[in-house]
């Protein structure tokens, strides 16, 4: 491979990344332009073609994301998310700590199977409602919801976009995630919940002025389309069942998600224009364009150069290497989007695997780092940005300083727990 190709493809890729991280231009626009530039440069220098670019796109990732997006788009208007939040409020009887655990728990479970962002977008407004009628600050609940949904999302194949990417690239099944990621995430999640309760103990100790008001909220009234909600939940349940089985049935998770979306669409027959409008096309396009860019890096030989550098430093033990990956990826994810980081690291880990290194454990290190790192700063994860921008329209905005005080300790704790468990679990590998 010509050094010229390596240099130019690297410039295109890192130039695009820099522009994405500067947030001066929309990330999807940058990615589209960057991917086209990569193909043009590749054609001129002869290292990349249109066919190779199409091949570089991981349609399994895109299909899985799109299928789940359609299901969520259909579930959203039924009021199911609001129903759960109101139910949590009633069950808590207005006791702050109970409400804290219940809302955090619901958000976590939902975001293990559905998109974090949608979950937070739909739960956060009701959270503000509940805390206002209780007469307590919404801040602890909102911060905890974002952080716990980021943490919980790391547990499953479908919980978080980086997991979808890693699962697809490494051929990891839904059950692989349940065996390898879920236990570590559960312990880290419990640690995060306890730490958050401690960090917010002053706010949570304040007694609500009107705890009886939440008992007058009627969950059934928030569920404005109970029939539709029931249908979609049945389909979603079926999809989760097939996720458990997809590996033994030899079907891709994307087929499960898209087939579930098809069944739900047929059964409910909603206004398709409205549903498709809610699919986050900009996210799908962003992913597709990033795949094309990384494909260019791969074809130019830039990635094998990096792989070579890494494998030369293989003097360090694999476990230590994994722990390092957790912390480095987490640190990067705290300040920038974890999707481009994951997409860029996947071919490198793959390449290391081809040199004979056992990279099985490294995939889990990548999952944990990308999943937990986003908690560190207010811009670390989209869920954080969502609750922050929502709270900006209230009397009590979440500031960057607040997040550093509450989120950063959680990120450090969860990464520490994950590192210890990772080292213990993979010591013998």
């Amino acid at each position: 491979m010509s050094p010229f190709a390596i240099v130019l493809s690297t410039i295109v890729f890192f130039g695009s990344l820099a522009l994405i991280f500067s947030e001066k231009v929309n990330r999807s626009i940058v990615a589209i332009a960057g991917s086209m530039l990569m193909i043009i440069v590749g054609k001129i220098l002869g290292f990349y073609t249109e066919e190779a670019a199409i091949e570089a796109i991981d349609f399994n990732t895109l299909g899985l994301l799109m299928g789940m997006m359609i299901l969520v788009a259909m579930l959203e208007p039924t009021g199911f998310f609001e129903y759960l939040a109101v139910l949590a409020a009633r069950t808590s009887k207005g006791k702050p700590i109970r409400l804290f655990v219940l809302l955090g728990g619901i958000t976590t479970v939902l975001s293990m199977f559905l998109d974090n962002v949608t979950t937070v977008v739909l739960i956060a407004p009701v959270t503000i409602l509940i805390s206002e009628i209780l007469g307590v600050s919404a801040l602890p609940y909102l911060v905890a919801e974002a952080i716990l949904s980021n943490t919980g999302g790391a547990a499953t194949l479908v919980g978080d976009p980086p997991n979808v990417l890693i699962g697809s690239a490494a051929g990891l099944s839904f059950n692989d995630f349940l065996v390898h990621a879920l236990p570590i995430v559960l312990v880290s999640w419990a640690g995060a919940l306890f730490l958050l309760q401690y960090l917010f103990k002053k706010e949570l100790a304040k007694r609500p002025r009107r705890s009886k008001a939440v008992m007058k909220l009627n969950p059934a009234e928030t569920l404005n389309q109970p029939q539709t909600a029931r249908k979609i939940l049945i389909v979603l349940g079926g999809a989760i069942l097939f996720f458990f089985l997809h590996n033994s049935l030899h079907i891709e998770p994307s087929l499960v998600a898209l087939a579930a979306a098809a069944v739900a669409l047929l059964w409910v027959q909603p206004d398709i224009q409205e549903i498709l409008k809610k699919v986050e096309w900009s996210v799908l396009v962003f992913f597709g364009a990033l795949f094309i860019m990384v494909g260019g890096l791969e074809h130019s030989g830039a990635l094998s150069l990096v792989v070579g550098l890494f494998s030369k430093s293989s003097g360090i033990s694999p476990v230590l290497f994994g722990v390092l990956i957790i912390w480095i990826v987490a640190a990067l994810s705290a300040v920038v989007d974890n999707v481009p980081i994951t997409i860029a690291l996947i071919p490198i880990v793959k390449g290391l695997g081809e040199t004979g290194m056992d990279v099985g454990p490294l995939w889990w290190a990548l999952v944990l780092g990308a999943g937990f790192g986003g908690n560190g700063t207010i811009i670390g994860a989209t869920a954080n940005i969502i609750v922050a921008s929502l709270s900006e329209k209230t009397r009590e905005p979440i500031t960057s300083a607040v997040w550093v005080k509450r989120g950063l300790p959680v990120m450090l704790l969860t990464c520490a727990i994950a590192s210890i468990l990772y080292a213990l679990l993979y010591r013998w590998l």
């Binding site: 407004p125 409602l129 206002e132 009107r210 007058k216 009234e221 404005n224 329209k393």
Partner: protein
Amino acid sequence: MDIKSCMKRNVFYINPKTTIHEAAEILVKHHIGLLPVVDNEGIPIGVIGMRDLLKLELPDFVNFVADVDFVHDFGAVEDTRPPAKTLQKTIKSLMRPVITAEEDCGLLRAYALMLQQNLHDIPVVSKEGKLIGIASRVDVGSAILSAWGKAE
């Protein structure tokens, strides 16, 4: 017919240095919904409505939840008052841009303006731009409807 013929000439107004609390007291005392804010020359530079003041007390969730019908008890927000510090701020910090009608503005034009801009009252100004009156939707609407009997 123009708006001058149906407007109220006895118009209450304030200046930008009036505090939010004082503005609220004037609205309550005269049982009105809108106060034009005028400068030293009597030219309107903004308005403050009852809804602007009520917004200070309205809970945040009303902006986020499309339908509040399922909230049967607003609980703690029912007895929340805006902080005293907010009430002592001047009206300049809260007032909205003013939309006025000139005294010779036709009634249908005035009504359409109010409908489109979602105004319940419209301040009326003289040719020199000075505040001379105020007309409500009912003032303008009644004036329009009263002409029906005289048709043909």
